[in-house]
């Protein structure tokens, strides 16, 4: 029971991170119908910006921790959003209206480019940071001394994700930007005819997705304390799995999918085998694609004659 509870906590915090990344996939898919394979690497850039930020703050003698975290979050979000904008502007926009595979190939190229760029600039070795937020609550203890911990870091991850989800859901449902995004999703030409700047709406979608991925990157850096240039690939593919599982194109679906993947991974690692936890996550992708390709919250595509 105690062991189960601990895995639940671990799974939820991991799942929140996948969910934040998955939103970027699902939003971009919703609006332009392409899988942005560079999104995982955008998240990796966010993680590196966190390393740079925390190291820089350490160098100048440190700050009050909440302030330091807030500062790093903002910096990472702004710069990562800029990366997201640039990627869309130069790798995808020129290919809009080209055949369907072109932006996909461009995305894979962009992913390789970003990985190698970070490897060159930052080096291939794992970058550690000193722990930023330590400690936590001991929730309960088993007779044999096993304790269930809820660390402050996990609380931060889960709460921050929850807050961002609410802000984001409001944005999509209630604001002019959200409405124009939904309009572009449904009919881009008609959206242009009522005066929506479709290109700018798509750019903003990438910017928002990248900013959310940056939050995930900062959280992961603080959670695990290490990053390298390759983390984007695995996290990206898992978040993509989460988006597919939840129903690609659906925003709550991405969040639910992310949390499910996090839970499955945590429980699989705990009860079966930690080495094969990635296998578990990807088996889910295969099963989802075979039995429910439109995902949990997605609608099945109706073939129109």
């Amino acid at each position: 029971m105690e062991y189960f509870l601990q895995q639940l906590i671990n799974g939820l915090s991991l799942g929140s991170i996948y969910g934040l990344i998955a939103i970027g996939y699902t939003m971009v898919y919703g609006i332009i119908g392409m899988i942005n394979f560079a999104h995982g690497d955008i998240y990796m850039i966010g993680a590196f910006l966190a390393v740079i930020g925390f190291t820089a703050i350490g160098l100048v003698g440190g700050l009050w921790t909440p302030l330091a975290v807030a500062l790093v979050l903002i910096i990472a979000m702004v710069f990562t959003a800029a990366y997201g904008w640039v990627v869309e502007r130069f790798a995808y926009r020129p290919l809009r209206g080209s055949f369907r595979l072109a932006p996909l190939i461009s995305a894979i190229g962009m992913s390789i480019l970003l990985q190698n760029y970070v490897q060159l600039v930052q080096g291939a070795r794992v970058k550690p940071i000193s722990p930023v937020v330590q400690g936590g609550f001991e929730l309960m203890e088993r007779d044999d001394g096993f304790t269930v911990n809820l660390s402050y870091m996990q609380i931060i991850i889960i709460v921050l994700t929850l807050v961002l989800m609410i802000v984001f859901a409001t944005l999509i449902a209630r604001t002019a930007l959200g409405r124009s995004q939904r309009a572009c999703e449904q009919d881009k030409t008609m959206a242009a005819l009522v005066g929506i700047n479709v290109d700018r709406t798509i750019s903003l979608t990438f910017v928002i997705g990248a900013a959310l991925a940056a939050v995930a990157g900062v959280m992961v850096t603080m959670y695990y304390g290490v990053v390298d240039f390759y983390i984007g690939f695995l996290a990206g593919v898992k978040a993509f799995t989460a988006a597919v599982l939840g129903g690609i194109g659906s925003l709550p679906g991405a969040m639910i999918g992310g949390i499910l993947i996090g839970l499955i991974e945590a429980f699989w690692a705990a009860y079966f085998s930690a080495e094969y936890k990635d296998v578990a996550a990807f088996s889910i992708l295969v099963l989802a694609l075979i039995f429910r390709p439109y995902g949990i919250l997605g609608r099945p595509e109706v073939e129109k004659v």
């Binding site: 604001t175 002019a176 409405r179 449904q186 009522v194 005066g195 929506i196």
Partner: protein, 268 residues
Amino acid sequence: MTTPLLHVEQLTMKFGGLTAVDAVSFTAERHDITAIIGPNGAGKTTLFNCLTGFYRPTSGALTLTHDLGEYLLERMEGHQIAHQARVARTFQNIRLFEGMTVLENLLVAQHHKLMRASSFLIGGIFKLPSYRHAEEEAVMLATKWLEEVGMADKADWLAGNLPYGDQRRLEIARAMCTDPRMLCLDEPAAGLNPRESAELNQLIKNIRDQHGCGVLLIEHDMSVVMNISDHVVVLDYGKKIAEGTADEVRNNPDVIRAYLGDDEEEEA
């Protein structure tokens, strides 16, 4: 003499070897309903597509002049034509945002105003007073148009679930919410019954009389054309074959031939 609202000069649109619109020139006045008629394939919709930035004309000039300035439509992007030159249109096959509510469809049309008020993002999330004010105004305008088209009780319906006639009227209301100076209607009466068609005539006349908005109309339903248009332009195989008031056009031999065929064919 004042400059006309729309001045089309020598407009030509070619698709490869096919000339869909061939050197067509006409003008449309500010307080007029100008109907564009012609047999199938005459180039009417192509003309609309050039006006609204769907196609870039092969040659020719499209000049729109109104209180906000003078616009050369053939050089502008689609979304600029909508929010700067203020041209709005509807489609032959209805194109609403079906997954959105009726009210949202009308708010999307006022996107520019709202985006500016929301400082492109921040104001919208935190509901700053300036944004709230702009949104209230937008909802008021939307409600006004819903009343005008007689759908005030259906604001929260999903657009895709509306009956056909309502969808047609909603499309016109949405176009009007962009605050246009010229409204292009592509077969608005298609699929409507005679009563709905008569209501539509009244609606289009109101738009001309009360909102200072010129109307350009493609229509096959001759009762609509003859009843409400002030000026008729007839196209056939991409060329303008006649122009004038409804009565003048009705008795024009070229028009009769285009619609009914030559005499020999008729005898056969």
